[in-house]
């Protein structure tokens, strides 16, 4: 288990009216806050990926609601909110032959910095090379406290 890796919740969702609302309501009722969210669509179905403040609880309520849910380790890295901010991260990973499966970004409440959620093929090595390059990798606790 990697200290820096954070858990993302992925939900298998049929492409139908009201599905998203049902999931969102379950989280809302349980007091789980969504930090970042993205939907990947593939025709009949999609995968909703999200980082929440309480992963364990989020996973449980969605699962109880009948959704097919999985947890995935992702990285949350701080990204300069200025031109070229993404380049440093992408280049570091690329030079080290680490593949990015997908990524999505969000801006924190303080809006000083943006956060980039990354799913990479080697979380451990990605954390190391990014840290060495001076990129700050957020911990699960930090995400919770945003």
């Amino acid at each position: 288990m990697n200290m820096e890796a954070i858990k993302q919740i992925s939900i298998f969702m049929e492409n139908k009216y009201g599905k998203m609302a049902r999931g969102a309501k379950a989280l809302g009722d349980a007091g789980v806050n969504i930090r970042a969210l993205t939907i990947a669509e593939a025709g009949d179905f999609g995968i909703v990926r999200m980082v929440v403040d309480d992963t364990e609880k989020g996973y449980k309520v969605l699962s109880d609601e009948g959704f097919t849910v999985s947890e995935t380790e992702v990285l949350a890295v701080e990204i300069e909110d200025s031109p070229g901010g993404l380049y440093e991260i992408a280049n570091t990973l690329g030079m080290n032959e680490i593949n990015v499966d997908y990524a999505y970004a969000f801006v924190t409440a303080k809006a000083e910095r943006a956060m980039l959620i990354l799913r990479v093929d080697d979380v451990k090595r990605a954390t190391r090379v990014l840290s060495e390059a001076g990129v700050r990798v957020a911990t699960g606790e930090e995400i919770q406290q945003i």
């Binding site: 993302q8 992925s10 298998f12 969702m13 049929e14 990947a40 593939a42 009949d44 179905f45 995968i47 990926r49 009948g66 959704f67 097919t68 849910v69 999985s70 995935t72 499966d101 799913r119």
Partner: protein
């Protein structure tokens, strides 16, 4: 233009036709009893001897034969003639289990030729006409000679085909056990003539096995009267229809079946290919990434049938990557194609969303208008 190929037979007075059927029924009952250990045993189980078959109505004393019998006697248990008497074997593709082997003597082939010639003549074909076989051949086909893909259609579909192509479309009927396609409607398009000198047909209640009243819907049962390598006694084809014994205005006296109204089993016909839900089930059971529940949905998009199979993704197989799920649905589709010979769209759905089986589960939703 609309003539008869064999006017003596086709227009034979019903009384004479029944007499001919009666003679042939007696002969075939004696023939199978004497030569086939399968039928001899069946007759004995039913407590019937060939001598008990005196008139046409005595056919009900004879035992039924089913597809299961054909499979159980694979390969040639029901086609017991020495090989040098058999001119041809036709073997089904065996998509639903063991293939069925149907043998033909040269006389059987001639019988088939004659009956198809009658059918084609009755819709106005004749000397100098060219038949185009417009069939997409795969490694499975049904029928011999003139090829056909049988599919249920409605009058509406027929009208659309006729209007858009400017040609007449006719119902044609036959199963591989009967010898393939050999019966059709006449040019009047009001029911398929089943040649009574060759086949004795009955409509029975699939539950009780009793003959239904004239004009009522029942399961078609066929006894072959002039087929020697592979005779069939009261064979239950599984198609539901209505038998009409009234002579047709076209002058033919032979009984007609009015339309195939459905099946006694859960078989569906998609793009001319027989599909049993049990085949789909056996494929799905072997794929651990999906659950045991499934739903088959058949739609008609334009002129073509589209089959969709809905399956549930299991929690353990859900990987968070779209590519994994896409390759899962592709793999399921390919495995289905390997067994069914047709392409099915596979739709992944959430676990628990497909209705659970309570008693006999509804596995097929057929949205085609038939």
């Amino acid at each position: 233009m609309f003539e008869y190929w064999n006017p003596r037979i086709e227009r034979m007075p019903i009384k004479d036709l029944h007499k001919l059927q009666e003679e042939r029924l007696r002969t075939i009952a004696r023939y199978v009893y004497d030569h086939s250990s399968f039928y001899r045993q069946r007759f004995r189980e039913a407590g019937v001897e060939p001598e008990d078959i005196k008139e046409l109505s005595d056919v009900t004393k004879l035992p039924f034969t089913t597809k299961i019998d054909l499979r159980n006697t694979y390969p040639t248990g029901m086609c017991w003639l020495p090989k040098d008497w058999v001119g041809r074997y036709h073997v089904s593709s065996g998509t639903t289990g063991k293939p069925t082997v149907v043998g033909y003597t040269q006389g059987d082939i001639d019988m088939w030729t004659d009956s198809l010639a009658r059918a084609l003549t009755s819709i106005g074909l004749g000397r100098g006409d060219v038949i185009q076989v417009s069939y997409g051949y795969g490694l499975f086909t049904g029928g011999l000679g003139l090829h056909y893909g049988a599919e249920p259609w409605s009058d509406e579909t027929r009208r659309r085909i006729e209007e858009s192509t400017g040609i007449k479309a006719y119902d044609i009927y036959g199963t591989s056990e009967m010898s393939g396609p050999l019966c059709s409607e006449s040019h009047l398009q009001n029911g398929i003539h089943i040649w009574a000198d060759l086949f004795l047909i009955e409509a029975i209640d699939p539950k009780t096995g009793e003959q239904v009243a004239e004009g009522e819907r029942g399961e078609l049962v066929v006894t072959t009267l002039d087929k020697w390598a592979f005779p069939l006694i009261r064979y239950r084809i599984g198609d539901l229809t209505i038998v009409n014994n009234e002579p047709c205005e076209c002058g033919r006296t032979h009984p007609r079946i009015m339309r195939i109204l459905g099946r006694t089993d859960d078989m569906i016909i998609v793009r001319g290919i027989n599909v049993f839900p049990s085949q789909v089930e056996s494929v799905l059971m072997k794929i651990p990434e999906i659950g045991d529940n499934y739903m088959i949905i058949v739609d008609r998009k334009g002129p073509l049938d589209v089959m969709t199979v809905k399956v549930e993704v299991t929690e353990s197989a859900f990987s968070d990557k779209i590519a994994d799920l896409m390759s899962l649905s592709k793999a399921v589709s390919q495995q289905l194609k390997g067994v069914l010979n047709i392409m099915a769209d596979v739709e992944l759905v959430e676990p628990g969303t497909i209705p659970r089986s309570e008693g006999k589960a509804q596995r097929v939703i057929d949205n085609r208008e038939v």
